[in-house]
Symmetry: C2
Subunit: 181 residues, 2 copies
């Protein structure tokens, strides 16, 4: 019955619309401005339809986060070398602060606890791992975690104006110099 398929398709499309609206609003005005009523308005439906697509508001933010993780993964895959990876990562975080917050800063959302790591996140991690591998005698995973942590710290402290804004490049230089030895 193609009618049913068409319906399912339309539903899915509307779900995407909700996520897109949430992302757009968050990127424009920050996550505290993202409310169910505003989202419902943007999608031109009433609030309850949101809950027929997502369990709650956090699930919507989680969907946005997943989108961001996939896009970050693409950027990291394109990048080559430690410098390329670092630049790609930090540029992404700087250019999409709200998106990055949803991915790795905001408290609730995806738990990532023990095992249920999204494949796209694992892929992104592996891109980083490939970058650091040449400089790790052993235990590349630990070094990758450290590399990621450093990038994450640089991105978030920078975003919060806790670091000298015009010295990010120097900090990255230093980080790469440390790893490459």
């Amino acid at each position: 019955m193609p009618a049913e398929q068409r319906k399912a398709k339309a539903r899915q499309e509307r779900g995407r619309l909700i996520v897109a609206a949430a992302r757009k609003l968050a990127e424009a005005e920050g996550w505290e401005a993202v409310t169910t009523r505003k989202l419902a308005d943007k999608v031109e439906y009433s609030q309850p339809v949101l809950y027929s697509h997502f369990k709650n508001m956090d699930a919507i933010a989680a969907a946005v986060a997943l989108e961001g993780i996939e896009e970050l993964g693409v950027e990291l895959k394109k990048a080559t070398g430690l410098r390329g990876l670092a630049d790609a990562y930090l540029s992404f975080a700087a250019e999409h602060p709200a998106l990055y917050q949803a991915m790795f800063v905001r408290p609730t959302e995806l738990t990532f606890a023990t095992g249920d790591i999204p494949p796209s996140l694992r892929a992104a991690f592996q891109s980083l791992q490939a970058g650091v591998a040449p400089f790790a005698k052993d235990d590349t995973e630990t070094l990758t975690e450290l590399f990621w942590s450093s990038l994450h710290g640089l991105a978030t402290l920078q975003a919060g104006s806790r670091l000298r804004p015009d010295h990010q490049h120097h900090r990255v230089n230093r980080l790469i110099a440390l790893i490459t030895g």
Copy 2:
């Protein structure tokens, strides 16, 4: 007029009580559970008194954050060497997650933008700087910012279960090895 001084003292004390209540509640149930009504209950006053002490809810969280920064500063001052500093920093973050969030993760609060950095934060930063100085040929500030960023990244990603929980020590080893060369 000592009566007036006594009053001022009592007021100040009550302000401290509010901050203490906020901190306790945040550490026990997370920041999303900290509401003006619950705080007012704990202090045994009505909501409006909170606003005679603090501009808004964020200001209360900022006061808690400042308290945390001072305590972190004390811990870092006691620590010696890169290893001591790193351990002190990460232990503090792990043992007081809500406090650490108020300090460096939650969005609003203290801006720290351009100049108005709290002296206690500057002091904490200088403790880190003293630790990395022996290993920086030049531009110790950049290396300190990087060291701090790495610790911050390790602390927050760890808190969010994004890193292998039982490998924090290895990651710290790696970080210190990188800096000491």
